[in-house]
Symmetry: C2
Subunit: 145 residues, 2 copies
Amino acid sequence: MIFSKAIEYGIKASIYVAQQSMNGYRSNLKEISEHIDSPEAFTAKILQQLVKGGIIHSIKGAGGGFALEIKEIKKIKLADIVLALDADFLDSTCVLGLKHCSETNPCPVHHKYKGIKKETLYLLKNTTLLEMSTNLDKGLAYLKN
Amino acid sequence: MIFSKAIEYGIKASIYVAQQSMNGYRSNLKEISEHIDSPEAFTAKILQQLVKGGIIHSIKGAGGGFALEIKEIKKIKLADIVLALDADFLDSTCVLGLKHCSETNPCPVHHKYKGIKKETLYLLKNTTLLEMSTNLDKGLAYLKN
DNA sequence: ACTAAATAGGATAAAAATATCCGATTAAAA
DNA sequence: TTTTAATCGGATATTTTTATCCTATTTAGT
């Protein structure tokens, strides 16, 4: 509905890695894709992008995996993850795809949609990995079903 | 951000045809794709789907084109157009793609997103072709730029 | 040192979305 | 009745997204 598969997997993977990291564990690819119910090889690519984008850390070699520090978990927002996987996600935000949709040059749904757009942006920019992974940890939310 | 290209074009085409119909004109493919800034052949396919889906009417042969009746323009909602082009658009509404995301089985963003989801659904189900095409007609909104 | 277990990265494949082309059909107008 | 201007529908092409495979590299443990 709103995110691509790659972004969906990327967000879920980040949340899982964060939750495991909070409990002192590092996660490997197999474990991650099992827990977020995603194709392993594709998830590997996405994890690479997240590492390159500075969202998560990778540890190579036997016993390696992916991890995050608590300080980072607190700081990283949903928007950071999304942008690491699609740099111009926040650009094309007109519902009807107009390049320059604005208050003075609106598409026919602009005014009715702008509230939703604002709330969505707020959600992305203010939701932290911490709150999402905490909910997962407490059993108040799930990454698959 | 939210709709596919096909749906974007479909909505814009419907709005344009509605506006023209309100002024007593019928629109043909070439004219439509010019006014909504979309690829002609692809738009033809989308118009076919809209006709099959009962959203707009087509008139074959020379001087033909596409049109709508005022009564229909008043009745048709954004959601009707969207569903004519993607029957299960309103099904997969979990931000993280969970098959069965719900109040009791929520994904980690469910509770923060549900308000937005509700408003989006409301917008789709309550915005009429009439209001969109009227705004276009009055020069208060645009289909391209 | 050697082996095993991991991520990294390049090449490729498959599927879906977007887009084009062309012949068939329809209907108005000359 | 012929021509012309349209939509319809099937086949195909292109592009993007999703997904897989395989080799290289790194590192822990024996």
